[in-house]
Amino acid sequence: MSLLVGTFTIGFILSLLALGVFISFRIFAFPDITADGSVTLGASVAATLLIHGVTPPVASLAAFGTGVLAGACTGTLHTRFKINPLLSGILVMTALYSVNLHVMGSSNISLLGVNTLATQSERIGVKLMRGATTFDLAGWEVSVRDAMVLAAIVLAVLLTGTLLYWFLRTNLGIAMRATGDNVQMIRALGVNDGNMIVFGIAISNGFVALSGALLAQYQGFADVGMGIGMVVWGLASVIIGEALVGTNQLGLTIIGAVMGSVLFRLMVAVALRWGLSPNDLKLITAMFVFVALIVPQFIRKGRMWGAHA
């Protein structure tokens, strides 16, 4: 049971990453690799601040802020210096590797015995349960810590998702969505598309860094290698989410990205349970995204073939 709760928790934490990838890949069609670096950036900034006694919410917000900065760098490289989007992301991601090592001072930091969002919610939970550390859920024994952390994460994701939905429906948000859709039109309506891209990629990486900060607090450590393959992970979540909701209505696509992330994490947990070696995880993820990307082409071809026959 605690395994299942843990799976959900990580799924929800990474859904913030999926929302970030949704903004860059889907709204701007900007293949932003920076995310691989900003997951770790968020984790290392939050971990370092926590060790120095900063309160967990402030540390998490600071992580969000540094992610915004990283994204703004990538956006600026692309818009101001006309560097290809993919390369802009690679440059910033590579630079972030050194930045992250500097922030942490070593290749990893343990948060053992440090006050984090996880320990905070555990304390609140134990207080609520009058000292009990486990409770009974439909016959399963669930630890209060796990349940409270999951509840806190779900709340955070709910809040972030709602904020994003609200933002994308403001005048600024509509202009941002239109920028990814039709640059010619948005310029003709007086929007500086370059600034829009910088702003959008910045927010995207803010979400990704926040996801990294929460992940570090949940698993109790930050590691310089933890961001590898995260973009592909986020992309897989977004693709699954789109298949789940099957529409491009804004609110549903956001919900879809969150659901996709949780479902993908569940699928991975099941695969690992069945004996998939953790070493093969990135390979399987990449193959999964590859298949998800080409399947629509095959369906189209199949239809055309069917029409000819």
């Binding site: 005048n171 039709n182 010619q184 309506l189």
Partner: protein, 272 residues
């Protein structure tokens, strides 16, 4: 009053390469406020390039452009949008396909203005949208929440025109905005254009391929060839023009061109 003043504007694309094209060669054009000028010309004559130069799609190499009393020569495209409404040839260019009709209109309602965290679709705004869209007589007022991508080219062009003029533009640029439409939709969009431009007396610069449109619309007509204005018909002279007259002018240009080439050949044979 002068609304648009184009002075000695030149533009060369791909300078110094084999693909070098002198698209505009010292073009001068003044538009008084409220005038509707039609631009015709052969392929590659620079008529669309002239519109894009005014819109700021690129900076001109030489010359200056003044619009509504301001020198906009060095203004980037998005800054000029404050003064200019545009409809493009491609019906896909003027709207954002995955956004709804009302989202698109809300974008147009802030053309050239700051965009903040205000709600894009206030009830009063949606009511005005419904009202304005119903005047297009396309039944779109019931589909305000549909994505624009699901509409036909004619419907999209009509909406683009509505968007371009939602806030009164100092200058309206129409770049062959019916060329990609079927005849029936083109007629609808032209009728709408006459209504919109006429009602608000908008200063308008319109490029067209249709000799019929060129003869029947507007109060002034200029003909371009090889990056220059070669004819300028105004007032009574413009009103007398018929499509056949315009075709005759094109024929003249073609003959002059042939003469030039054969003359050049003869000179080359005799003297080189």
């Amino acid at each position: 009053m002068r609304m648009l003043d184009i002075r000695a504007v030149s533009k060369t694309f791909n300078p110094g390469t084999p693909n070098q094209v002198h698209s505009l060669r010292g073009v001068n054009l003044e538009l008084t406020a409220g005038s509707w000028v039609i631009i015709i010309g052969t392929n590659g004559s620079g008529k669309s390039t002239l519109l894009n130069a005014v819109a700021g799609t690129f900076f001109v190499d030489e010359g200056s452009i003044r619009l509504a009393g301001q020198d906009v020569t060095r203004w980037p495209e998005h800054a000029r949008a404050e003064l200019i409404g545009r409809v493009f040839q491609n019906p896909f260019s003027g709207t954002s396909p995955s956004l709804t009709i009302q989202d698109n209109l809300s974008l147009a309602a802030l053309r050239g203005r700051g965009r903040g965290l205000g709600w894009g679709l206030k009830a009063s705004m949606v009511a005005r949208m419904r009202d304005e869209v119903s005047r297009l007589n396309m039944g779109l007022e019931e589909r305000l929440e549909n994505a624009i991508g699901s509409l036909s080219g004619g419907q999209r062009q009509a909406l683009t025109l509505l968007m371009a003029t939602w806030l009164r533009p100092e200058l309206l640029l129409l770049d062959e905005h019916t060329a990609a439409l079927d005849p029936k939709s083109a007629d609808q969009v032209i009728a709408l254009t006459e209504h919109v431009v006429g009602r608000a007396k908008l200063t308008t610069l319109m490029v067209t391929h249709s000799m019929h449109q060129a003869a029947s619309l507007g109060d002034r007509l200029i003909m371009m060839h090889r990056g220059q204005i070669i004819h300028d018909f105004q007032g009574a002279e413009k009103r007398r023009l018929r499509p056949d007259d315009l075709l005759a002018r094109f024929e003249e240009v073609r003959r002059a061109e042939q003469l030039d080439e054969s003359a050049a050949e003869m000179l080359a044979e005799n003297y080189v």
